[in-house]
């Protein structure tokens, strides 16, 4: 027997994108908040049905971009005008037009890296194990089945009531999964 502390959540299986979309709406309408979908392909608008708010990734990316701009400007100013001033073809040691391409490149580089690795971090990736893998038919998530999970951290979560609820909205193979 498992203790309550080990329960990760309840997972239900659905047959079609339309079914999981409706189920996601019904689940969030019922007041659940720790709800997620696991599907073979992206389903348009599912994040609205799941009531997942806008991603915070954009703020990380703008931070990366501003860091890139600042780093590039400081680097070129310090190298060209402070540490080793050198006059090239009559330009000032620090001449702003010459710094723009590198500033732009470093902004793009750090923004892009932040976007990719920020996405990994927010998704807690890489991760080789996930409790949902314990579901008996989860292998079909890359083929033709759509899974909806309600996690135990949800304040409204109750192992039997939540499972019954997912069954009542058409979920099949509703299983309680341990971490």
């Amino acid at each position: 027997m498992s203790s309550e502390a080990n329960v990760w959540g309840v997972v239900a299986e659905f047959d079609s994108p339309a079914a999981i979309y409706a189920a996601a709406e019904a689940t969030t309408d019922a007041g659940y908040v720790q709800v997620d979908s696991h599907t073979p392909f992206p389903i348009h608008g599912i994040e609205k049905a799941l009531r997942h708010g806008p991603s915070h990734l954009g703020w990380f990316v703008i931070g990366g971009g501003i860091t890139g701009i600042t780093a590039a400007q400081l680097m070129m100013w310090w190298m060209n005008a402070v540490d080793y001033p050198i006059y090239v073809s009559g330009k000032l040691p620090y001449a702003w037009p010459a710094t723009i391409p590198i500033t732009f490149e470093l902004m793009v580089l750090l923004s892009a890296l932040t976007a990719v690795f920020g996405m990994f971090a927010l998704n807690k990736l890489p991760r080789h194990y996930h409790p949902i893998f314990k579901h008996s038919s989860i292998h079909r998530v890359t083929d033709d089945r759509f899974f909806l999970s309600v996690e135990a951290t949800d304040p409204k979560f109750d192992r039997s009531a939540t499972a019954k609820f997912l069954e009542s909205i058409g979920g099949k193979n509703v299983e309680l999964l341990e971490d």
């Binding site: 992206p42 348009h44 608008g45 073809s89 009559g90 037009p97 010459a98 723009i100 391409p101």
Partner: protein, 418 residues
Amino acid sequence: MTALTAPTVDQVAPGVVTRVRPGELVGTQKGILGVSAVALVASIVPAFLGEDDHARHRVMFSYLTAYMFALSVALGALFFVMIQHITRAGWSVVVRRIAENMAGTLFPWMAILFAPVALWYHDLWHHWIDAQITDPTAADYDSVIAGKSGYLNVPFFFVRAVLYFVIWAGLARYFRGASLAQDQDGDPQRSLKMARMAAPGLLLFGLTTTFAAFDWIMSLDPHWFSTMFGVIYFAGGVLGVMATMGLTALYLAKKGYLGDVINTEHYHDIGKLMFAFMVFWAYTSFSQFMLIWYANLPEETIWFAHRSEGTWNAMFVTLCVGHFLVPFGFLMSRHIKRNTKTLAFAAVFMLVMHWCDMAYQILPNIDHHGFHLTWTDITAVVGVFGLFVAMSLKNIIATPLIPERDPRLAESLHFHNV
């Protein structure tokens, strides 16, 4: 076996009003037409009056600035239509008819509006037109311009102008005509044919727009050259049309048309393209500037030297800040692009900045020591751009407001940004 046809608009979007109700918008259209006609007279007539050659030339330059501004928007509309076809875009179907109707003004209206410029060619492009300048025995012989006379000569100049308008007219008429014909028969083959035609169409568009910018703006200063020049003109034009298209859609929505059809998702995409072409303009403009600044060759730097005199330097800073830095921060957020009020504000602001860019490129050839706004600058832009808007609106009133039987209409109606 019956041929495959696209569903009718009643099947895809029941209850949507796709035509302007009889008598509506006509008053506004006539009003804009009237104002622009008066403004046109006020900006053309002074070029023929008075003894002061400089004042007369200044009037012509006002008109050229306004003309190149409005032309870039019309050309941008043509580009928008073709790029949607070549990419087989679904989202844009509901706004494409607006662009088709704007591009429809390229002929005859933009060609007619070119007439004053053609009439004043000797005054506007006198730097390379002066007869003596290519004669080696003459006192004011200019070997650089003589070397370019194979391209820069009056007959070829006008042959090219005719060629541009023939190509633009042909493309605009073809894409608008085929789309209107599809409204009738719903034949999906027309969409495929338009996608195929868009490829050579875009090639011709790219070449004609680039050379038109060379001919009508760059050759005002015939010693100077920049291969980037045509691209900057093109980028500004597409920026201009995204702004104008967004404002037109908002105007139609305010009058009770397409309010539910062209929704936040479409405005969001118009805003994204506005942002993209604003950045593209900055990218190309800066590329032109930096290469010239870095190489520091006198025959190239002279163009920016002229534009650093007096208040032209302030215009340079205005463009850096107003045409790039401020809108870059402002239009970055999706909330700004999805709010019609802020989007409309950005659209108007970008149109003003696009005019400033045209002024920066054209007017230093006559205002040598700084920018002096004259009242013909205002009347010319009201006249030329006003006529463009009035004739676009006339086309809009005359046709269905959306491509009624485009096979991708349903996709466009249900479009969502992820």
